[in-house]
Symmetry: C2
Subunit: 311 residues, 2 copies
Amino acid sequence: MLQKVLEEGRKAADAALERVLPSATQYPVSIHRAMRHSVFAGGKRLRPILCVEAGRMIFQSKVVRSKIVQSKIAESREESLPGIEQVGAALEMLHTYSLIHDDLPALDNDDLRRGRPTCHKAFGEATAILAGDALQTLAYETLAQIPCPPASIVAIIREIARGTGTIEGMIGGQVVDLEAERTKPDLSTVEYIHRSKTAALIAASVVSGGIYAGGDEADISRLRTYGQSIGLAFQIVDDVLDLTQTSEQLGKTAGKDAAAEKATYPALFGIDESLRKADALVKQGNAEIAAYGEAGSTLSELARYLVARQK
Amino acid sequence: MLQKVLEEGRKAADAALERVLPSATQYPVSIHRAMRHSVFAGGKRLRPILCVEAGRMIFQSKVVRSKIVQSKIAESREESLPGIEQVGAALEMLHTYSLIHDDLPALDNDDLRRGRPTCHKAFGEATAILAGDALQTLAYETLAQIPCPPASIVAIIREIARGTGTIEGMIGGQVVDLEAERTKPDLSTVEYIHRSKTAALIAASVVSGGIYAGGDEADISRLRTYGQSIGLAFQIVDDVLDLTQTSEQLGKTAGKDAAAEKATYPALFGIDESLRKADALVKQGNAEIAAYGEAGSTLSELARYLVARQK
């Protein structure tokens, strides 16, 4: 079941990205080729999948609440939320822009990403900087065109902008991550980095799906806690894999955290304790969505997958 | 009169930026100091001023259309559109992010901007890249919180994202600008660069003000043409000043277009012909807003100022 969700979710996300990204022949071609190079590099599309599945869970639970027969749930899976993939595409573009800029020589200076040359290796630094900028811009242009009530669009944009901003969002996490290199990491710094750099956008992904599906305040609050917990677990496992897997297995340079003396969970607690922490976080996240019963089963499976994955 | 508009508009824009930008003591401090360094470097705040004045013009013309007495117009100037300065702040943050990235070593490699060290000179490249990213993010977060109907917010975000995007927006112009260096420029390339790199965001600025004020389709269309014309004139004059003024007068490195063999109007037509073209464009732009009579006088003056300025 989960393999099907991951596979079909990835295809749906790719199709949505194909619809919103300018073609490789659109003038000026260099920037569009660079954007597409990084976006279509074979990502797992976890953020779009989490967004869409969170939306489906809320939609299905509303169907149940409104007492429409249970048999409707299965078919509602396919047609319930037309256009939600566009939100997923925006999330994936934001994630990709952060990877492009993170890989630049002035930041992590990485040559390999998802098994291919990084954007600046393939297109030069100037184009890579602008391609990252452009993916961020296109993400907001895409969000401003999703087919849902304007008040929901505005709420989604606010959520995603905060999740990628400097205070407790992605950029804040990147900044502290860079500054914590080669310093003795403490738990509160490591937690800030992980929560901000990764978990905030993952939380924004599921919350956006929930807003799109018309979730109420209680829904949004549960999704936020679920997203923060599994997002933190995701980053802990990412850092463990960086230590235990090869570059070939990961499709990106392995062992670079240790080389750069990054502030990570495994650096602080070791691998076993880190994995225990990740497991506990997944249980915590899943407890939040237990209230949705069967409708929440896919999100629960996704959470367990995030800590069990090998790359 | 115009001096007062420029001076008070600048102050109002600065105050709005102060309200939305995190303080220099907000964790993580390095990114917020870098963002503030570039935002509070003494810009003229032309985009916010154009946005606010376009909004006022539409608001005042609606007051006249709805037959409220003329004497109301003067006082309406001050209190007509609470919160529109937030739109201006978002526009200025987007403009500033583009300057920070444009100044990076991989792009224009400039040490001086508005008379101060550029962001990467003061804070290092990594922080400058992230500060630019963060200003773009904060611009959209700010727009998602402006006090106007959600449908207007969405329309403004779409307009601004297009004006700063890759197809016919700011990033597209930057890309072609970089690629046209050291090639023989032709008119269509120079026009694409100027229209996209500069005029598109200036047009988005006045159009956003018009949307904020509740302008109808005809209003928006007039504002768009006005903005595109004066935006193109603005860039032509900018390129002439780069040739005729000193770095000290400009507060940024002069003569760098010629040094980089940039594709510009003066490079193609010479200074006199370029200035005649700029004048004609201002007349064209002002013809569009002649329909607003007295309510449009500030925008007309602003247009003339853009070509008469010496820095």
